[in-house]
């Protein structure tokens, strides 16, 4: 049934809400990619089967709903019982019978499955009380984990398309752009360009044929916010794009999804079909006479294909390589026609802004960065996962408040933000309010919103080398400074971590970095020196130690580090003996263990397992002084 008037839309919403509240009990099973990998599909099946089996015992209708990513991937598979709001973590299929018996029918909480807060050691049954969720403000991810992404009525019952209805029924395209301007929305794909300005320029561009494109390439390794939005709430992306198309006067749209995201493609395809069937997409949307449709376009997956000009080239069927953008895409983009390209998260924000008003969005955030932002929090932090917070939240709040602190309570060293070409922010800046400007000033960037927490067991020279390696493999190779520059930069870093650094290397790195920043064709090459320059800025002494003393202060770089056991601390637990891959450790249980330097490969496995922290690192060159080969 197509909806062809404002009244019909309101009726549809009312009916969807009614259906939704009729399902008084819901068992929400997270079926985001992370939880699926941990076996959540089996959990959902088991729960559904158990409920079906006990149909007559269940006092009220209960419904198993497969939702998108709840964000708390570390603890998956996650199950939430509604309306109580009980959160169960690390659920196994064999827990299904007990959950149905005790919790769904009996109304009891199974304490074993409840989340235990690592900070306080307390068990917290309520979904909303878990600090990981409590401290978040979800806008782009507002419905993820709450709705069944395969059911448009469920989405509408939770507010989907309300922003679109408001825009189409009550606002002119100019007013829509003004609302986005009031909201202060900036691009969530990296550069933070003001969205309203992009739209206005496209609206003003000559020509009837224009495009609206969604960038769902998400090539950053470790980033998964866009995937989670496309999988968990595809309607938020579609709604945003229809509003954007209306604002700029476009009739054709594309969602560019990387090949590695098959579930996102399935959910988007289904959502597009359902939206079309309801008249929320396609010809004569909501009976207003506005036509706009969206197609899905799948991408080859190289990191650089997410860059706007490369993405458009590849959509045109040409080689997905960047080109200079002296003429804006809003004038000459896809097929040389006016095009608006926005990130998945940017699009997901749009519907909420229209529904609740630009002023509401702008009431959150900092002077120049408004609203909320999604981050993927990973690395050496207790709670990893996907989070969304108001701009301006401090790094400390993110890492210690939501993340629960550093894994194993080790000392914090740095957090890498912005994806592979972002930078490392040190402990002295933990109180930095996170927004576009502040991160850039700190030598890093917002980028895709990746955050990798690093502890004291991290060598910053090695970190820079690691990201250089990734970027060297991802450089498209079109321009000299990026292709040859990364190759040479990596060679310098390979020497540094192997103890072959030379005096003058730091100056050479700095000069090359500047040449790449100024000379490269696209942002990949221009930003590639960030990991190098930020670590050099905050951890210069580590570089100097590698070069001048042939030492890795963090005790990580293998060629520079030797391991030994502190006699007084070893309790003879034998754990190190078991993990050493080369048999370099000898010792009997309950006796002192010894590392043999002639066979030790400095992999650090023993260090990580030792419960008494009896393993110590020291510069390898001291071995010669001790007379060991």
């Amino acid at each position: 049934m197509r909806i062809e008037s404002e009244q019909a839309f309101q009726r549809f919403v009312a009916q969807a809400r009614k259906r939704s509240s009729a399902r008084s009990r819901e068992v929400l099973v997270c079926c985001g990619t992370g939880c699926l990998a941990n076996g959540s599909a089996k959990v959902a099946e088991a729960l559904a089967a158990e409920l079906a089996k006990r149909g007559s015992d269940v006092p009220v209708a209960t419904f198993t709903k497969r939702t998108g990513c709840h964000g708390f991937c570390e603890r998956g598979p996650l199950v939430v019982l509604q309306p109580q709001g009980v959160l169960y973590t690390r659920v196994k299929p064999r827990d299904a019978a007990e959950i149905v018996e005790k919790s769904v029918i009996g109304g009891e909480v199974i304490s074993r499955l409840v989340y235990k807060d690592p900070a306080s050691g307390q068990r917290i049954p309520g979904y909303a009380e878990v600090p990981f969720y409590q401290r978040q403000t979800r806008v782009a991810m507002r419905n993820i984990g709450r709705i069944d992404p395969a059911d448009i009525e469920d989405a509408v019952a939770h507010g989907a398309y309300a922003g679109l209805a408001k825009a189409l029924f009550t606002m002119t395209p100019e007013q829509v752009i003004e609302e986005i301007e009031v909201a202060g929305l900036r691009g969530r794909g990296g550069a933070g360009f003001p969205t309203a300005r992009k739209w206005r320029s496209c609206r003003a561009a000559a020509g009837d044929r224009k495009f609206v494109v969604c960038n769902g390439d998400e090539g950053d390794p470790g980033a998964f916010k866009d995937r989670s939005i496309m999988e968990g709430d595809p309607h938020s992306v579609i709604e945003g794009m229809v509003i954007g198309a209306y604002a700029v006067g476009a009739h054709e749209g594309f969602i560019y999804v990387r090949d590695e995201y098959p579930l996102a493609v399935v959910h988007l395809t289904l959502a597009l079909e359902q939206a079309r069937a309801r008249g929320l997409l396609g010809a004569n949307i909501l009976g207003t006479g506005f036509d706009f449709d969206i197609r899905i376009s799948r991408g080859g997956g190289a990191f650089v294909c997410g860059e706007s000009s490369a993405l458009m080239r590849s959509r045109e069927g040409k080689v997905g390589e960047p080109r200079a953008k002296y003429v804006h895409a809003t004038e000459r983009g896809l097929f040389d026609l006016p095009t608006v390209l926005n990130n998945v998260e940017t699009w997901a924000d749009v519907g909420a802004i229209l529904a609740r008003g630009g002023a509401w969005f702008a009431s959150m955030g900092t002077a120049k960065s408004k609203g909320t932002k999604a981050f993927s929090l990973v690395g050496k932090v207790k709670n990893t996962g996907l989070i969304e917070l108001p701009m301006g939240t401090t790094l400390r709040e993110i890492i210690y408040g939501i993340g629960g602190g550093v894994l194993g309570d080790r000392p914090f060293k740095a957090v890498q933000t912005g994806g592979p070409s972002g930078g490392c922010v040190p402990e002295s800046l933990l109180d930095l309010p996170v927004d576009y400007e502040k991160l850039t000033e700190a030598g890093s960037m917002m980028g895709s919103g990746g955050m990798i927490v690093m502890d004291d067991r991290t060598c910053m020279v090695e970190v820079a080398r690691y990201f250089l390696q990734f970027l060297t493999e991802e450089s498209c190779g079109k321009c000299i400074p990026c292709r040859e520059g990364l190759h040479q930069m990596l060679a310098i870093f390979e020497d540094l971590v192997a103890g072959r650094g030379k005096s003058g290397d730091i100056e050479k790195i700095e000069r090359l970095a500047r040449g790449m920043q100024l000379g490269s064709l696209c942002e990949l090459g221009k930003s590639a020196p960030n990991p190098v320059l930020s670590t050099l800025r905050y951890f210069r002494s580590e570089y100097e130690a590698h070069i001048e003393r042939r030492a890795c202060p963090a005790g990580i770089c293998r060629e520079l580090t030797a391991y030994e056991i502190v006699e007084t601390a070893c309790n003879g637990c034998h754990a190190c003996f078991k993990v050493c891959p080369v048999g370099a450790i000898t010792g009997k249980i309950k006796e002192l263990h010894v590392i043999h330097h002639d066979t030790c490969i400095s992999c650090g496995a023993c260090f990580d397992v030792c419960p008494t922290q009896a393993i110590r690192t020291f510069p390898k060159k001291e071995l010669a002084e001790r007379g060991v080969a």
Binding site: E474, S475, C476, C479, I480, R483, E484, M516, S520, L521
Partner: protein, 277 residues
């Protein structure tokens, strides 16, 4: 060109509005649609390039033509752009030798010399910018290919697209598809001839030509008997309808001779018609 200083010089497409801009203080006029590089060349300011060719679309790979541009109203702020692709604008001020332009260009040439340490064109260009030896690790397998992509672009431009750049990053190279003899190649040698370092090998012998691992049968000039074009090339261009197949019967030299003979005949035969001054 010699009057350039007083009258301004002109470059750009035929038709369209004229734009005035300044390159290193020299004022110059170009037609709308021209790029800054053309303006600079018209003003007599030298800007190095390696991947530029006037007949092909700008590419932006070599980065040597970096320049700073600004406008009086920008309050001293400059934008670093590449001259081959930045459109000329009315009132634009172009600076081709600012500190950062010179320094970045030097880093780029230093890097290129590391890639192609034995290539005379690169050595010469680097030397002109004060680099005798690369400060980076010289390529242990020296190549003459500077990856300017002129070869692949001219092949695309002709509508053949037999070769392409393959692989990412440092592994990038020019190659036919799958590394096999390219099915679409017509043996026209456009790639080999446009290559600024002449690094695309080919061989033309009696009756046959080999390039990219593919061997072509040659068409002989019906007059002098010289093998002057591949059969595939004649078929391709005749098939595209631009010229009749008979166009390829004579080689270029014989065609010129024939034309000269026609002119002579005409000048003798027709009263009042003369060739030359």
């Amino acid at each position: 060109m010699s009057l350039g200083k007083e009258m301004g010089t002109q470059a750009g497409e035929k038709g369209g509005r004229m734009l005035s801009l300044s390159v290193d203080g020299k004022s110059v006029q170009v037609r709308e649609g021209a790029f800054v590089l053309e303006a600079a060349r018209a003003a007599g300011v030298e800007i190095p390039t390696l991947c530029h060719h006037p007949a092909l679309e700008p590419y932006g790979g070599c980065r040597l033509c970096l320049v700073d541009v600004t406008r009086p109203e920008w309050g001293g702020w400059c934008k670093l752009v590449i001259a081959c692709q930045f459109p000329a604008e009315e009132g634009l001020l172009v600076h081709t030798a600012t500190e950062r332009v010179v320094e970045t260009r030097r880093v780029v040439l230093d890097l290129l010399l590391a890639r192609c340490p034995e290539t005379p064109l690169v050595q010469e260009l680097a030397r002109r910018h004060g680099i005798e030896q690369t400060s980076y690790v010289a390529n242990p397998e020296p190549t003459d290919c500077i990856l300017c992509a002129l070869c692949t672009r001219v092949c695309d431009h002709l509508g053949i697209s037999a070769i392409a750049t393959v692989n990412r990053g440092i592994g990038r190279e020019v190659a036919p598809p799958w590394g096999e003899a390219p099915p679409d190649c017509i043996g026209c040698l456009a790639c080999a001839e446009i290559c600024p370092t002449s690094c695309i090998p080919y061989e033309t012998s009696e009756g046959s030509r080999t390039i990219w691992g593919k061997t072509f049968e040659m068409l002989r000039c019906t007059r002098c008997g010289r093998a002057h074009v591949t059969v595939a090339e004649a078929d391709f261009f005749a098939g595209r309808g631009g010229v009749p197949r008979s166009y390829f019967e004579l080689c270029d030299a014989c065609k010129r001779k024939e034309m000269a003979a026609t002119f002579v005949k005409l000048s003798r035969g027709a009263a009042g018609f003369s060739v030359g001054a």
